[in-house]
Symmetry: D3
Subunit: 340 residues, 6 copies
């Protein structure tokens, strides 16, 4: 089984029950999530060896994070302990015209304040086939930029494939800094994943004539974007997720995989959302699995999109669908008939 190392933050995710707003709530459901952790869980879920690298505080929240990751078969032996706090975020579930709303309380988290010297990447990456991180991690702090660069350089040295989800977060850094940092890190990236907004905000590459708030797709322009990324940054493979946000309740969902100089568009699903947060990460989880274990690009992107289509119907950031369930959907059965 392929051995993948994922690096980034993992946070407590606090959600008011149902559609309640934070301002109304008297309780929070708590799960744990993070862009790269979500991918690690997906990969372990498909049977791969996934190791998560992060830093969590030495208290019961830090212990609970590890308990949960272990329960999903993620290797937690490389998680550092220490620092002041676990990052937290609040998710208010939207509906119809009301968007879901995320409130970050992740500043000063253990990982964001970790010292680069704490991570011995030569040791951590021993035996690894693949390394995954996202644009969120370097956005956390300057030390996280450094740690990420250290990791990527170690990967390059060891010949480990690197994937990166651009994941631009405007509340963590601004466009200019994102561009400066990510343009540099992109030299180490073999597989780049992003959406249209990421490409524009982080890499300065945009598809013509699309308005991300309108929900309309400009399929034609995406191949150009993907091609431009490969050309400018030298990565071999680019995947672009195509979300059509009709409302907070219904989204269109598809993706493009650009590899070997060709574009492969997936089928598009119209999804009635149960939990949209983590949807993009479940695409990455499905894609990395498929890139490692399946051979045809069309099949790879179809797997990743079907897998993440199903995640949008599952509570929490972690995808928990079987390969067989993904394949049933890929093969055309989205009828939702009761399985008994």
């Amino acid at each position: 089984m392929a051995n993948i190392v994922c690096f980034g933050e993992i946070m407590g995710r606090l959600c008011p029950p149902g559609y309640k707003k934070v301002l109304q709530t008297t309780s929070f459901d708590v799960t744990f999530a993070g862009g790269e952790a979500n991918v690690a869980v997906s990969l372990a879920n498909y049977g791969l060896d996934a190791t998560y690298v992060t830093k969590v505080p030495n208290n019961d929240l830090g212990k609970l994070v590890k308990r949960i990751l272990k329960s999903y078969d993620v290797n937690v032996n490389q998680i550092l302990t220490g620092g002041d706090r676990l990052g937290m975020y609040y998710v208010e579930k939207g509906a119809s015209q009301r968007p879901s709303k995320v409130i970050y309380d992740r500043k000063y988290s253990a990982i964001s304040m970790a010292d680069p010297s704490e991570f011995n990447w030569d040791h951590i990456l021993e035996g690894a086939d693949w390394f995954h991180t996202t644009g969120i991690t370097p956005a956390l702090s300057d030390t996280c930029i450094e740690i990420t660069r250290d990791a990527l350089q170690a990967c390059r040295k060891k010949g480990i494939t690197v994937s990166c989800d651009l994941n631009y977060r405007k509340n963590l850094w601004d466009c200019d800094k994102a561009k400066a940092v990510m343009s540099d890190l992109m030299q180490y990236v073999d597989v780049c994943i992003g959406n249209e907004e990421d490409a524009e905000k982080v890499l300065g590459i945009s598809a013509s004539e699309t308005d991300v708030t309108a929900g309309a797709l400009n399929k034609a322009g995406y191949t150009e974007v993907a091609q431009a990324i490969t050309e400018q940054y030298g990565c071999k493979t680019v995947a672009i997720t195509l979300r059509e946000s009709y409302s907070a309740s219904v989204n269109g969902w598809s993706a493009l995989l650009y590899t070997g100089g060709k574009s492969y568009f997936s089928k598009k699903y119209d999804i009635q959302l149960v939990d949209r947060v983590g949807g993009g990460d479940s695409f990455v989880g499905g894609l990395l699995y498929a890139l490692l274990e399946r051979t045809e690009p069309q099949d790879q992107v179809d797997f990743a999109v079907a897998a993440s289509c199903l995640k949008h119907t599952i509570e929490g950031d972690f995808n928990q669908v079987t390969i067989q369930e993904v394949e049933t959907l890929m093969n055309g059965d989205g009828s939702g008939r009761v399985q008994r």
Copy 2:
């Protein structure tokens, strides 16, 4: 009031809250359900005399089942007590492309291991006008086949009308055994209810050109199917439910009533599902009530379909709508305007 005896299993139904998967849950909502019990509750709900016949264990779960049935006005005096366990099943609510999932834990249940000699049908059926069972019960065990046959023969002797919902369950038996058993029992059945899949898997009669996973209807073929059933098995009336499963969240729902050699198609409803499990049983409940208390076939099938349309919006297997609410919908008001 007509007196109807229903025979079958009743199980505990354990559901994770909301859209959680079994793998994620820390609690289960518990209700009670079973194909024939659901019909008994519907009939009592419409004011008929409904008696349920089954066997439950001599423990607090068995007592709780009876408490719940009594609360819905079902006569529980014919329920036997004993055996090892109450059958249970788990329902994971699906959404959009993710199907609802049923996990059975009903093996070795009290009713499945009951002895035919425990049921004195002459006594049980005293005063009954109608007997209802389904294809699930004989699928439970060979003794259940025998008990069902005993019941049906007693009905024949007493001139009691018999209805049977084919309800093929692939996890309980295979097609071949289902066909062998049900073909034999069909000789006693006056009113046969099923869907397209049942007709094909249980009776070997299929409508041409329909793919049950695609959600498309082949209305034309259904009359043939119904007609074939009446011809091959001698039952007077056949009802076929027509579910168009667009997704786990939205279904089309209508039905055909074939009686007196003619087909009556109901109006079709597009339903945003709250709880789909028990939907077919609520159709049977509405149909039996309508066959007994209403005269026009078109009105009968319209009542049954409107009643079961409403059940799809109600939590749990038991339908709990008033005749007046059904008639409001039959009369065209599906606007969902607040009633105050």
Copy 3:
């Protein structure tokens, strides 16, 4: 900031969790609501000075009502204490073809049995710029008619603008009494809000060719209705909400503002409902705010409709959206994209 006094009842609202029916429930979620109280909360939410006038019993329920109103910045200093009970109502949330259902338990409430002499309107209205009430309050009791008339006459004397939402409630009074009472009170009303049914049942003015249960709009006729109201009752401004009830799960929602002899139709939103009760009141809240703080009629009605569109996605009767969130939607972004 403008100072608005709202007068009416406030009740406990008891809802079974999720889509459960009252007949199934073992618990109720409790919030507080009332046609005029909902408006007061909206106004305070937008930063205006809102005072609520009512009467609540001298027990912990009465105290809790005040706690909640204070938490939403509503001035409760004019709320009287005494009487026998707090009015309550039960809301069963509908879905698809099953309508939401309201059961009133508001008879004999403190406000409905209050004596006109308890309200010193000269004192209460000191410093007020605007007075708001609805057609529900006079429907509660004859003393409430008298109290309302006292208030309206005091407003006239002090030159305070008066708005009234017709809000016909067939369970509180019949058409004939409603007409008789409201026709008289309308002489004091400057801004009249209603829907098509209200206009017909309360004022006897109807748009041609519309069937409220069918969900179809007859846009053309509404201007006539609004014009007729201004002509017959002398109010300056009329707003008519236009609900297209496709089902209990999806509604079309828009409105007409008729002012200065001209009609301004808002954009229409198709809404997947989270909580429909209080939707109309949130329109009034948005409208009064906009009439006071914004200048263009088109902008005013657009604000009111966008604000109330968002309320339909929020649990409870009280709207809790920021002006900025309303403006985002007015400006065309109903995409529901996650805000982070």
Copy 4:
């Protein structure tokens, strides 16, 4: 099996979860209860034929009350339908020095406003062996006094044994009225149940030297009280419950049965309370069962006290313990060892 008719109110009981106060809560757990209804449920629970007589409104709350009573095997055929509302009450669970607190919202309930002519006692009491009511019912309204008197006179005529629990409620009437009314009704009572406070407030008979708030017992004085009741009012049997309220969390609990001119004191239990409300009614339920089905006075009072001791550990007003469980405790096993 003996046939017992119980008459009184039944209300919705709304409790904040856990130890929350009404002022803090956002939900209520709902059960149903009433002094006489609790007794009817106890009697049915022990296998007797219990019929409940009351009046409930014609809405879903009224239907739900009946559903619940039926589930506990109480005959609901004599329950009238109509009136404005179902009485409700709120229970805030106390702990340690903080008392439990009951807020009544029972004024104007259907039963309190029922007309004596609605109750045909000759018909209702047909086949009855025993009639039970309490001092709460005549406290509801003057019509309830009249209805109670009608019932008692009919019992006298038919030779039906009558039991009455004095149950003084200071929020429903004052001492003087209670004395006037109850002194008159006592002439029809064969079995009188009360506590020390009831005897004093309702019948004007007091034990010397006891302070009900201090929790101290004056065992010696109780026999006198019981004897005085029999002498003054002519009833044959008197039971007095002896609660020592150490705190809202721990109570001492015992009782005295005075019959045939002799006193029988039960064993005393120190109870860690789960739900104290309904405790007295469960004593009455146990006592009536024991008076009907067991022969020795000592055994009767021991049964009643053990049964109600167990009720104090059960959520809700309704006692739900088996005769065997009561006997285990009577026989000295209060060890609480796990039963498996």
Copy 5:
């Protein structure tokens, strides 16, 4: 009414439901609390004018804090907005030998990082009669020491009475720093509240022969401690709470008020705990109220102890008992009898 200004932090308090540990939980109940905020709520609850001074972030958590404080009648107009985050803490409820456990996540909170220049104490303290803070606030950060000193000096200048609860928190600072800082601030304190451990750790004054973990009281030594505090630091009044921690489920609770050179010991209550956190603050709330509104020292300490005894039976940090309920307990009725 006296006008009291309280200054300190307010945090979100996240508790697993029931007795669950953080390591086991899937949800948190959320309330808000802080040593000084708890006092402000108590004071407002008794009818005084209470203003809270703190800083909260400009997000929905900051808004929610203010909503809640307003609902309890606390003036929030002096609360600053800004900074990175709201402090949070987790409370795991203990039982029997297992202690309750608090996990702090309050580092980097808005108030701890506020700048002294943000607080204009001359303005904030306008009209104030009393100022209250605790030893927790200066423990948060060096800027908080400075802000506290600024406030105390402004009080001295304006002649405002100052109370301070020593409240030593070993996780926020060490003994040496606490002593250095608090010894200096004590010069401004008129009323000093603490327990035995505080006196020793913060002021270096200890009662002889007491082991805080053993639960035994050394009543004799407390007067010496109180006297020493008044002598060394010049404050007029000292209150010492005396907790006997028999277990996490049962505590003894009493206090000593030392004023005018004399000691007044309260009655002692043995309490079965519902929620122990905030118990000490409720004592301070009761004490300040009593010092302001009641005259006799014995009555003052009795009020404070009875009030806080009741708080130990209430969920959350905020005390919510009426003066009448406190007086009932002071007058000797701790029987917990149902109030109805």
Copy 6:
């Protein structure tokens, strides 16, 4: 770290919330538990290598069991998959005089119907230092007796220490069979754990003059019992737990460790119970840890009793206390003071 293999069943444990009875509930909290699994979790919790051996069905319940065990660091690689069902049991929490009640639904479970040939003990026990099982496992079925014997013989061959908790369950087998089977298996046992009832029912050895339902201890007799066990069955070490069941709410808890021919009695704790089920297993977990990692018998039994004292205050069967928390209690701090 020592490597321990535990063998037995693991079941779903379904509990009504709070103190509700099964007959009242509408939901169940679900955890997982089993006599030997509880020990495995304890051992892993203290940092030892614990492997669990059992068989679970190939469905989501089987997967969930493994997820949970992994989250607690138990090695699940030796768990077999297959069979019909996962055993379940229901726990109704008792209080005061009402005992907790366990309803088994474990018949026909995967492990009870497993075939001895499925377990390759030579392989499973590779590297193991210790093997633990209980008297529950052979009580499940004759095949389980055989599997247990196979395991014990393999241990003997490999020189692996064997511990066995007698754990007599009267609902699984009768005394005679228990004696016959366990007397034989005892020859392989090095460390025998039991309580007084086990010793009598399973081994026929009884302490004089003790009544298990009365809660009284006969300390003197226990040494004789322990000695008799070592003499008759040749085991080196015997531990006897001494539960004094004052009520379902409060228990006394202590134990005796008999080793090297001497008795070591632990301190006794009086515990206010949160969750008593699994209490004995947490003693075994603590004991095995202490036998492996600590040297003094007195310290060993003190550790085991303190650890299990704390478990009685924790929800669920799994103990989750740190070594440090246990030592704090062993060292005499049971004060339950808040840790912050």
